[in-house]
Assembly symmetry: C2
Homo-oligomer: 557 residues x 2
């Protein structure tokens, strides 16, 4: 058999998230990234997805290492669930895992939280190679919306791979750490068999623009804000948080962080020295009463409209310590991720109804900039790397198609650009590249319980789903009062439902209590549905010690 | 009691759609518009909403007329369902209804289709007044994305109202018919008590831009298209269709229209002389085989990703006569309406996977322009009308808030600008305006059966929902093959389910048949869910002669 390298995306192609890529050489497998996916509205009762690793169970190869490109959930978030499975497949031989400082720190927090007794080793950006079986990997600094993002050069016996996941080329990043063009260019000169490239920005011509320019916008708004200055953004965007902190300090405002996962990420960034807030500038939430509104900046989780996030609770008037005032300003420093538009717009409407000034992407483009390069940046990477073949990753099919069009305009031939689906293998030999077998890849579900952004969920894969059964809760709710019209009906399938009448009675009480706190005309049915779901899941778990799929069916009356 | 005019929005405030506004003077009610609303993803099993007219049933006033501003579904679409109810409330005294030529023609088509034996009278833009009880109304031409759009000046004994619903100020519209600035300005000089104004574009600074400039973009694309030139847009955008037809004629392409409601609207436009296609240029679908691909332009319904629309069927390879070729070009000449992003993106991905060139808003802004004015146009209307009070309509709360900010920057005081919710009455006297009572307004549902865009649905309001009961269909579907794993489970509530086992057997057969036509890895779960829903609804109706709420629960295995 020829000297072959196999490349297979288990996730990250066609649906952007749950990134996980396999590089196989003989009996060795090197894994890059291990991310979460996010459920869409067709996946009722399910919130999160994992990459499907059943191929690895069948292939029975040795997993010689796992590399992480950067610290976003869709690249590291599945690790606590998947690593224990990988370990079992590897005969409990620990798998060496590597990432750059911030990536490793975030991933290690997660592993610790879930009680996984293994750690990611930190790799500096010093050009040294990590040797893993027949693979040699080196991490190359690029800019993105989270610190220490890297591309990875993977040298294999068959040829060199440039794994260029999420990036942009920002020459004035807030932390001053620009992409390592010299290294990328050197890699290109040594010859690259294939470039795997981020393609999410391929619909946009030109360049994406620098994170740095947002400071001015924050300054403009904070200057005229008479009340609390409230900013919601992604937890991992440390540059953004630094900018808000800096501007706040200049205008004599103290900073409070709200949101459990945001605080955890912030603490990691502070520990590594990536987030610098003057001592005493930061204030704990329980001290809020000691400060007047115009001396406060709140940095709040929930920019995607997540229910139970800090931002949603504040907007709905449900946050114990924080009430919105009409002279406050709320800034959405994030675009809605496709699919979240409706829920984000509802959140904005809810805030606007309280008379509070809200600034968001549709009325100002000055408070968010994408972390993904646009066409010119994608083209610049191609020109530096000069690969023989290209595989766009991390995009939907339309992004890959737009990327291919652009690569062709740079002189690449169509048959050197591979548009894949998850599970589609590419076989590299020393002389060519071609499509290989197709590995069946399914959706594996995880369910979110706590509601705190993406924290505190429990693994519940397909098997558990079928073991756990299904509970359908039919609630008739009066749209004028937001209250239950009568006792909810409970439909149980997949396990013995002898207790379902008692359960229905208890649920009736608990739902009545929960809903009575939100009496009044219903404007947000998504919120009601989620409330019913959450209360029901907790009750069912307490009573039955099981976690079935809970489907709330809310009927407006 | 003082001389009072009451204004109440029954719909159209806070959720953009199902526009319906009441003007009451003593015992007389004048209605403006009667539109459909569109369900969001939280309203499982429901597709369309009607304005709730239960207040009119209670108020027992005389409905002295109904005026229509323009021919969009969210302004006229509820008429076939609501008019018969209004008639009954009015002791079967016919209610005079008026609209401009295109609006009346579209609405009359609808009324005829549903067997409603009443018609809208056509009003020309000649400045003459329609006298309806104590009200006198005149129609003023404005530009928008459907021909013959009007604003309405309503003279009442209390003062003049300028009802300024959906519009933009396009000074080079494709049909050459510009807004009647002279009339608007004259109205302003006579004094206006209140301006009701479109506010949907209030998030955008500047002007929206003219429809006219799109012709160039179409020309650029048609010039390089080697195969079929396929354009999908809104049925009612006759200017857009005229542009595509004109460019197609210039490049020697014949035109085929695809989509039942699109064809109906097109025929209305042709009858009125608003759509001019050279004889023999238009071709029937069954003649398609006589023309080579590069001699064809297809104008296709389904720009919002609607399942079973022409565009979805073509993209999914399910259209009998039309197969996508890799040298075809598909142009989305419409932005996704908020909430439709995910389904439109899936449609685009499906087309891109076939190797066909797709042009859509994220990669080119040159194929669609909004029908709603941006801030400068909204400001221009205020300056021309010079109202004492302003009520933004037809927007979400955030749009109203942005509109109010802008109106304040023009010198209006906050307490002369009313931000309402549906059902919130405003009481005008000769000297002032203030908030009045709140009318309870609920959601009234309509269910879509045929799937052909917004045609062929059946009224199913709340009462029927509770009468009809609910059927939950649990299907386990193999994500690798798209086929049923076992017999679906049927859960019935709200009616006697003695037949549910027989129903389950029949459904099993029919679903198997339907799914077997789409064997292969499932990429579009929304499509599967809708297919299950459609097949089940038909079967249930055939077997049980009832239309319960059907909830397909598709479990991926």
């Amino acid at each position: 058999m020829q000297n072959q390298l196999l490349f297979t995306p288990l996730g990250g192609i066609g649906d952007v998230t749950k990134n996980m890529y396999l590089y196989e050489y003989k009996d060795q497998v090197l894994i890059v990234d291990c991310g979460l996916g996010f459920a869409d509205e067709t996946m009722l009762g399910v919130d999160l997805l994992l990459p499907d690793i059943s191929y690895l169970a069948k292939a029975k190869k040795k997993i010689i290492g796992l590399l992480l490109t950067h610290g976003h959930e869709d690249h590291i978030g599945a690790l606590p669930f998947v690593y224990p499975q990988l370990l079992a497949l590897n005969n409990n031989q620990p798998i060496p895992m590597f990432g750059t400082a911030f990536t490793a720190a975030l991933a290690n927090e997660k592993l610790k939280e879930y009680g996984v007794g293994h750690q990611i080793k930190t790799v500096p950006f010093d050009g040294n190679e990590v040797v893993l079986g027949n693979f040699r990997a080196s991490f190359i600094r690029v800019t993105h919306s989270v610190p220490d993002t890297s591309h990875i050069l993977i040298k294999t016996p068959v040829g060199n791979i440039y794994h260029g996941s999420d990036f942009k080329f920002d020459d004035t990043p807030f932390d001053g750490k620009v992409s390592d063009y010299a290294k990328i260019s050197q890699v290109g000169k040594e010859g690259v068999m294939c470039l795997m490239s981020d393609c999410l920005g391929s619909e946009r011509p030109g360049c994406t623009g620098s994170e740095n320019k947002l400071s001015e916008s924050f300054e403009k708004e904070i200057k005229i804000c008479q009340g609390k200055f409230i900013v919601t953004t992604y937890s991992s965007n440390i540059a953004r948080i630094n900018q808000v902190a800096q501007v706040s300090e200049r205008y004599g405002r103290h900073i409070i962080f709200i949101g459990r996962s945001l605080i955890r990420t912030k603490e990691v960034a502070q520990r590594l020295g990536y987030l610098r807030i003057r001592p005493n500038l930061e204030v704990e939430l329980d001290q809020i009463k000691n400060y007047s509104d115009n001396k406060l900046t709140l940095i709040v989780a929930g920019s995607q409209g997540q229910e139970n996030s800090g931002m949603a609770r504040i907007a709905n008037g449900e946050h114990r310590e924080i009430k919105l005032a009409s002279n406050d300003t709320v800034i959405f420093s994030a675009d809605p991720i496709p699919g979240n538009e409706v829920i984000v717009n509802e959140l904005i409407d809810t805030i606007a109804k309280r008379g509070t000034r809200v600034v968001y992407s549709a009325i100002s483009r000055n408070f968010h900039v994408s972390g993904h390069g646009s066409l010119e940046e994608l083209g610049q990477l191609i020109k530096l790397v000069q690969p023989n073949n290209i595989i766009p990753i991390g995009g939907n099919f339309r992004h890959m198609a737009a990327y291919r069009d652009y690569a062709q305009s740079l002189g690449y031939r169509k048959n050197n650009i591979f548009l894949l689906e998850d599970g589609q293998e590419v076989v590299f030999s020393e002389t060519d590249a071609k499509l290989g077998k197709i590995i069946p890849v399914k959706n594996v579900y995880v369910d979110e319980i706590s509601g705190e952004e993406l924290e505190g969920f429990i693994l519940r894969d397909r098997q558990k789903l079928s073991e756990g059964g299904i509970v359908i809760i039919l609630c008739e709710i009066d749209s004028g009062t937001g209250q239950l019209v009568e006792k909810p009906e409970i439909i149980v399938r997949g396990f013995i439902d002898s207790d379902s009448r008692r359960l229905a009675n208890r649920l009736f009480q608990e739902l009545k209590n929960a809903l009575s706190k939100k009496r009044g005309r219903v404007t947000n049915w998504i919120y009601i549905r989620n409330l019913v779901s959450e209360v029901s899941e907790r009750r069912i778990y307490k009573d039955l010690r099981r976690r079935p799929l809970v489907l709330p069916v809310v009927i407006e009356v």
